[in-house]
């Protein structure tokens, strides 16, 4: 291996007017800059990464990442709050490298910061998806996350994904069954992955409201966001793409505003993994078997495509995200959002809902009309007595109007193969609420005063 101390940095400025000689020296200078740390210039320091075409030693790299993360984390604060007042936030952990690195970086910029400390009151939340991903090494992940959260002093809440159907501990098995039916009833793996993501986000939203937090911070890397640019466009979610790949995405539902933040947006996976290896150490393997060939779903296919492009040109991810940053979702009406995924509805969809004269006459999803949530009655009778029961909203309320879904979710719902499918209660409630609001507005619209009227 080349000895770093054998090579010195060449100054190129002295040779600017020397034609070919300049070219040669410039080439040497470019080559040599990968042999010495760009920041400390100490030839005795071992280099660990080529970061945006500059080489860094371990100490400088760790310092660089922490400094680069800080402004993004600062954007996750409510600007109207006094700077020393702690803001309650939910830190969403998946057990993967990106979210673990994010947790460490939040700790470094808040609790452990020597100066210019940011004030956050973090609450870590892990959504356990082992009921639909049996090869997920749930126990290893939970033990590790508990250890890390203890180390950093953040409380950890673990929520099983089946809690999307209520949280009554007595009917857990029934809820797991419902969740499996709900996910497996979709014909494509892409839709199954998407529906589980929507459920996970809804649980995080609900948990944030319970914890009186207005923000959920995710560890989504730039590579994952660049993948989203392709996958969202491919799935017909182009309208919401600018919001979903931005550092801050706000949804306001029934007066409750929750902001999803993605402060790891600046970092590609190579940078995250090398930081993790040097600062955090070994993480548990998430899955007990390799579960994702590239063509498994549209999401994994897009991810593979982005990795291939990134391999060809290291600027791919930044270029994609810069392009996505230039896209803007039109100004929207917060009263109209997709019942399933909470993205804003397009103007066309809003106009369509507003044109509906009677809520009861809307085209309900045929698969969800007054179906019993339980396929076996014995199970149903045990759950229907509690408020958290999946059956509590049966009968008249279990109607999902396709009009209250975004374009992509309408396609997703069409993929359902189970005529008895029951979705989580919140989806029906959202659907009903949107239609009722629209109808009430319609009824009083002739009596409303225009803002421009005196």
């Amino acid at each position: 291996m080349a000895n770093t101390s054998e090579l010195a940095v060449c100054g190129v400025n002295d040779h600017e007017d020397e034609g070919n000689e300049f070219m040669t020296v410039n080439k040497v200078a470019k080559k040599d800059r990968h042999k010495i740390c760009y920041k400390c210039r100490d030839i005795n320091q071992k280099l660990i990464i080529l970061f945006r075409n500059e080489a860094y030693c371990k100490t400088c790299y760790i310092d660089l990442i922490r400094k680069k993360f800080k402004p993004n984390l600062a954007k996750c604060r409510d600007a109207s709050r006094p700077s020393r007042e702690s803001e309650n936030v939910v830190i969403a952990l998946s057990g993967g490298t990106s979210s673990n690195v994010m947790l460490e970086l939040i700790y470094q910029n808040t609790t452990n910061a020597q100066k210019s400390k940011l004030f956050f009151k973090g609450n870590c939340v892990y959504i356990d998806e082992s009921s639909i991903y049996p090869n997920l090494k749930k126990d290893d992940i939970e033990v590790y996350l508990k250890k890390q959260c203890n180390l950093y002093g953040y409380p950890l809440t673990i929520i099983p994904l089946e809690n999307i159907f209520g949280d009554n501990p007595e009917n857990r098995e029934h809820r797991v069954k419902m969740l499996k039916e709900s996910v497996e009833s979709f014909s494509s793996q892409t839709s199954r992955e998407d529906i589980s993501i929507f459920y996970r986000e809804q649980l995080l939203r609900k948990c944030a409201l319970e914890l009186k937090a207005k923000r959920v911070i995710f560890g989504t890397s730039s590579v994952s966001l660049a993948t989203k640019v392709f996958s969202l466009a491919s799935k017909g979610r182009g309208f919401t793409l600018p919001n979903e790949v931005s550092i801050s995405n706000q949804t306001e539902v029934g007066g409750d505003s929750i902001i999803f933040n993605q402060p790891m947006k600046e970092f590609i996976l190579k940078e995250i993994y090398i930081y993790s290896r040097n600062v955090i150490g070994d993480l548990p393997t998430q899955f007990s078997s390799w579960n994702a060939p590239a063509k498994q779903s549209l999401n994994t296919l897009c991810e593979d495509f982005v990795h291939t492009l990134q391999d060809i040109s290291s600027q791919t991810v930044y270029t994609l995200l810069r392009s996505a940053d230039k896209l803007v979702t039109p100004t929207l009406d917060n009263n109209f959002y997709c019942s399933l995924c909470y993205c804003h509805l397009s103007t066309h969809d809003i106009n369509h809902i507003n044109s509906i004269k009677n809520v009861k006459s809307t085209n309900s999803n045929n698969n969800n009309n007054n179906n019993n949530c339980c396929s076996d009655n014995s199970s149903c009778s045990t759950t229907s007595t509690t408020n958290n029961s999946c059956c509590s909203t049966n009968n008249n309320n279990n109607q999902l109007s396709n009009d209250t879904l975004c374009y992509s979710c309408r396609i997703l719902v069409k993929e359902n193969r189970n005529p008895n499918l029951v979705l989580p209660k919140y989806i029906y409630e959202n659907s009903k609420s949107i239609l009722t609001t629209a109808q009430l507005k319609n009824e009083i619209k002739d009596f409303l005063l225009d803002d421009n009227d005196d």
């Binding site: 993994y273 390799w290 060939p293 991810e303």
Partner: protein, 96 residues
């Protein structure tokens, strides 16, 4: 020459779930990284080679570290592995 190969990020699952492999080449003083990858495919990989190797190099999304440093610092796939080197393969696919 004797080298160490580490696999993580789930990649070890393709190599009989073994994370660390000590490899000895008695007749060599160095071996091109490209050849080492082919050797690993032929001798260590137990399933689905297309998840590890594509077009004679590691699959995009697999991070390679040479002695804990980014392989791009050492010329990537063109690097000659020497005695005592520690080559680390980390899968960054489908994690986060």
């Amino acid at each position: 020459m004797k080298i160490k190969v580490e696999l993580s990020g789930g990649l070890e699952l393709l190599f009989n779930k073994i994370k660390t492999h000590e490899i000895t080449f008695d007749d060599k003083k160095s071996i091109p990284l490209k050849d080492l990858i082919i050797w690993m495919k032929d001798n260590l990989l137990t399933e689905r080679e297309n998840l590890f190797i594509v077009d004679g190099t590691v699959r995009p999304g697999i991070l390679v570290l040479i002695n804990e440093a980014d392989w791009e610092l050492y010329g990537g796939i063109g690097y000659d592995v020497e005695d005592g080197d520690n080559i680390i393969f980390i899968s960054t696919l489908h994690g986060g």
